[in-house]
């Protein structure tokens, strides 16, 4: 812990100069997960590691911020629901949340899923708000972007996959769902290829969802770190106005990308659910 802020600044810049002169590994070090909360130059908070049944479960930065996103989500949406239950007139805060809720229901769920869309709206709302808050949390200084972790986006995509298959099988029956994957009126000799293609297609869609969200989030942050690191790589302060200006622009672009990626993930989930539930080829 530093008591002299000037010494803190000079020590940090010396460390950054030394790191930047040794290649670019420090970018990945800042962007990926770690077992401590990093508030340099004001110190670090080490996070606990639990040993349960032979497995080492560590509480990492991304875990903490995932919990923060989930708690914010719960507080905001439960307050909105309680206000709606008490009186159907929204106040300023719940009105703003209701705009987003109605957007997800009327622009994403209803056009993509068609009839029977009400059952899937809670899942789509949860996905949209969680990814939105997690993405926005990553833009605050000294925090971590949870959705830039491939494990988290793979889990979200896997849950989306489960909801899609469950919805499709509930509507069409297990065998009827697989039969409906293959379009009508194709020649018999094409059947083996079509089966392989359709079953592979079932798995590539959630994979694409996961990688799209992960890559978009991590690419933005890597660009910001690289632009700021340009100051240390060049070793001069004269690059700073250009560098900080461009980093500011990329930060603003990141706001757009954060909301857009939440919308795209939710919309593609809704489209896949619609394709599974109403199988008309």
């Amino acid at each position: 812990m530093y008591t002299d802020s000037l010494k803190a600044i000079t020590d940090t810049t010396a460390a950054a100069h030394e790191q930047a002169s040794q290649g670019s590994g420090w970018i990945l070090h800042h962007v990926t997960d770690g077992r401590y909360l990093d508030f340099t130059p004001f110190g670090k908070i080490d996070l606990p590691v639990f040993n349960i049944g032979g497995y080492e479960l560590a509480i990492t930065r991304h875990t903490i911020f995932m919990w923060v996103a989930a708690i914010i989500l719960l507080i905001m949406l439960i307050k909105t629901a309680q206000r709606y239950k008490k009186t159907k007139i929204p106040n300023r805060f719940t009105g703003a949340i209701e705009v987003l809720i109605l957007f997800v229901r009327d622009e994403i769920a209803k056009p993509s899923i068609g009839s029977g869309y009400e059952k899937f709206v809670p899942y789509l709302l949860t996905t949209f708000f969680f990814i939105l808050f997690a993405n926005f949390l990553g833009l605050i200084p000294f925090s971590a972007t949870v959705t830039s972790n491939i494990s988290l986006t793979a889990t979200l995509a896997a849950i989306s996959f489960v909801v899609t298959q469950w919805g499709g099988m509930k509507k069409n029956g297990v065998f009827g769902y697989f039969k409906g994957l293959i379009p009508h009126g194709i020649p018999v000799f094409l059947l083996p290829i079509m089966i392989v293609v359709e079953v592979l297609g079932l798995f590539t869609k959630p994979f694409a969802l996961a990688v799209r969200l992960f890559a978009n989030m991590i690419a933005g942050h890597i660009v910001i770190y690289a632009l700021i690191g340009l100051i240390f790589a060049m070793g001069t302060l004269a690059v700073a106005p250009v560098s900080v200006g461009m980093a500011l622009f990329i930060n603003l672009l990141e706001i757009l990308v954060a909301s857009l990626q939440a919308y795209i993930f939710t919309m593609l989930s809704a489209v896949f659910i619609g394709m599974a539930v109403h199988q008309e080829h």
Partner: protein, 72 residues
Amino acid sequence: MDLAHLAAGIGAALTIIGGGFGIGKLAAAAMEATGRQPEAGGGIRTSMIIAAALIEGISLFALVICFILAGK
């Protein structure tokens, strides 16, 4: 001489050429359509943003592979 880093750089450049070309064509079509019928501007803008995000998703798949290569 590290071929993995060279491959990462060339791969990223080619990916961005493809992505930029695709999104450029998309934006040109959107501008033309909005010029023809300004009242449909909102709907065209929404569709353009969605299509741009999907094209960018593809180019970022290739970029992830370039990151893996550059980390070798």
